[in-house]
Amino acid sequence: MNQTKRIIIVVIILFVIIAVVLAVDFLQRQNAASQLPADMPPGSIPIYVNGKFTASFVSEDLNQLGLVSFVDDEEGKTQEGYLLRDVILLYIDGGSLDSDTSVKVSSSSREKVQTLTWEEIDQFNNMVLFDISGRGTLKLVSKIPGFDIRDAWVQDVDKIEITTP
């Protein structure tokens, strides 16, 4: 087999990998779209207030939010994204939130949950933010002691629940 044929085979393998990945992602989106209500597009994060569905956090709204970043102490990597505080205030009236309001962010696939108070989320220095992972999913990270390591962070977030006292 000559070198040109070998190169063609390698390039075909590359395209097959890309095609399979994109096809599976497309099918997953189609599947999710057919199962979710119209106001919850695939990939969006539902926000519940006191158990009632209130809004969906969608990527189209990201342009209304400012990007912030910090370098984590654990691996020295930059975590960059959108403050959870800003995300919530985009959909929920700030007047209905006080320092005791609890916000639960969870990931069903990871079986991870993190519950924070509004006071913790509202403090800019705590850097409670959504970093966008390589897969395009959201990862809740922060600098709050105890919630500043990877094991505690919530990867692949798919729900935000707000409970007011």
Binding site: Q3, Q28, G43, S59, S109, G134
Partner: protein, 182 residues
Amino acid sequence: MKERYFSTFQLILLALFSALVVVAKIVLRMPLQLTGHSGIFWMAIIIVGAKVVPKPGAASVIGVTSGLLAGFLGLGDFGALNTFLSYTMVGVMSDIVLWLLGGDPEILFVSVLVGILGHMGKFVVKWSFGVIAGVPVGFIAFGLIKSVIGYIIFGAIGGFLGWLTLKALRKAGFFAYLAEKR
């Protein structure tokens, strides 16, 4: 006595390259918020390793060993198994592509293609884990495409850097020195 596939000297070299992959991952930081940018370093290291120990399977040994090291050091956001398999797959894919292309990473297009597909091996492992675990579809609609493009570009740059390093090593007489050692 049956001759071993890798000599002790070659295994030591491969272990050193494995350690270098992990050290590069920990120490070298680039201010790039782009997925897969670490491929610039480790694809270069794997390509150099595959030339310094020019036997099929050398890249896989680097992948497996660095995967074990990285797994035990707790690197990666998705657990030790994911880390181990993704590092391993980089080596295995690199070996497959090297074998398909004739095995000489001193040829530019060979090293670039090895860089791209080797790095894509890591992406495939991470993506497969997500699919199996039932990770929700991406919040960003084109996040996956961006990720794929990132892996391809940084893998290609890593391959190019590996090729440049091999050229520099050849010029410095490193391969002649190695031939004497063997």
